[in-house]
Symmetry: C2
Subunit: 153 residues, 2 copies
Amino acid sequence: MSETTTVTDYMETPFTNELLKQMRALDTYDAHAAKTPAETLDPYIMTKERKREIPIVGDPDEITMARVAAYYNALATSIEQRCGLMAVPMIKLTHEGFGRALISVGKLIVLDKTLRDVHRFGFPTFEKMNDQAETLISGALKMIESYTEVAKA
Amino acid sequence: MSETTTVTDYMETPFTNELLKQMRALDTYDAHAAKTPAETLDPYIMTKERKREIPIVGDPDEITMARVAAYYNALATSIEQRCGLMAVPMIKLTHEGFGRALISVGKLIVLDKTLRDVHRFGFPTFEKMNDQAETLISGALKMIESYTEVAKA
């Protein structure tokens, strides 16, 4: 049921395209080769039904951690494309799924997130994922505009 | 031989005191309880003789990684004490001992180091360790002075 919902909700945006590239880059075994974009990105969609099936406390597996990394890589690449300066993501996670993700441009931290419950990482819909990405990307670009000297340091 | 050298070379400075505190905080089994400060900090001293005994390529063990973390914690605390703003260290290491260490104050990256060969992490002498720490701390403080608004963001 939730599968159908998320797949039909799929939105093609510059961010989802970037995320798709990142997911495909991770896919060294070509497991995604036959999948549609919506199917490849489907694990990012964490509906209420899906969340209910995942234990509240749990250690994230490597696939989940790679998915989180791909998400921040896609954000960094999107920022880089729009400001022309190199954006570098850095994620530090404990085995329990807590940690911090940041993206730096020069000496400026343009995005800084506390991570928790990474084993349940995801977004209710593709629309929400895109909205949030857009908010984070424009926030980063505003930071760079305000502190250009630091971003170029 | 190198043991004697490093122990007699021991310098008491604000930084080594901070590092000592960090090492003792890590020491949940009280293994350092009976040790002198020089003995506790001795693993940070990587003389040429000691380096020769360690393979060029190798995975850092947990004790080494904890030592690297204690070192950056001590730098962050030293920066914090001297500028009055919270300094947060973040270290990301691969299992092979490559990675990045940074310290942020607000949205400003005040220290950014590429890490490599972490399994051989150390300094030739206590003096060199202190000199380098002082350089890094004053560099960080200068950054904060130049970009106070970002450091307070």
